[in-house]
Amino acid sequence: MHSLTPRVRLFSRRLPGHTVIAVRGELDIATTAALRDRILTLLKDMTTPLIIDLSGVSFCDASGLRLLVGTQRRARLHGVTVALAAPRPHVRKLLRITGLDHAFAIHATVAAAQRSHAHAPHSSAA
């Protein structure tokens, strides 16, 4: 049965002035709990803006949206801003349906998110 669990992967890159977390795979109630734990761990010592690269998310439901909202809420407690990058059309549609497109900065590409959110390297020593 365990082989049926849809796989989801998370890659994080800590760069000067920001961090990029890329999620790849399917976000549903079977996969979000483990991701949440990993993201919360990464947030613990994060001090610069977080960009979540959604380009590899092939499926997302409300549990995926809750993961994003929970991440943003926790990040705010640390003074970290969160931006979303490169959501596929249906993820963007869900963000719009739920009104979350007003709660997040959403960028078409990771590069665009970096231009808007990354701290300049010299100011990232917070």
Binding site: S63, L65, L94
Partner: protein
Amino acid sequence: MTEETAARPASVSDVRDVVTVRLPADSAYLSVLRTATAGLAARLDFNLDEIEDLRIAIDEACAMLLAQAVPGTDLTCEFELTDDAMSISVSVLTVDGLEPSRDTFAWTVLSSLAGDVDAEVGVDDRVTIVMNKRRGKTS
């Protein structure tokens, strides 16, 4: 997972094309059900956008039901296919016998993507979510 198909010949005027999928009430099987749903929707010539709507809708409905499912029981999905629509009924035996809360992201997503949606609680605390998605109607 068991799959039963009851399809009468297409020449019969009152043709009723029904597919029932029964699977363990466990989130690990949601991806399988999404795939089955996409396959059935493709059979009705739903477009890719509509198919994705249905994949998300069935997932949301099941996720809501799994939250209160009696452990070790099955989730039953009945798909009724007509010329231009798919009616899906998802049900599970529940611990609490409560209709899903409509004040959630999940219900917002479900009702936006699935067309007509309703929920009911049966006498044995079986909770059923019924949705009806018509082809060629933007959500």
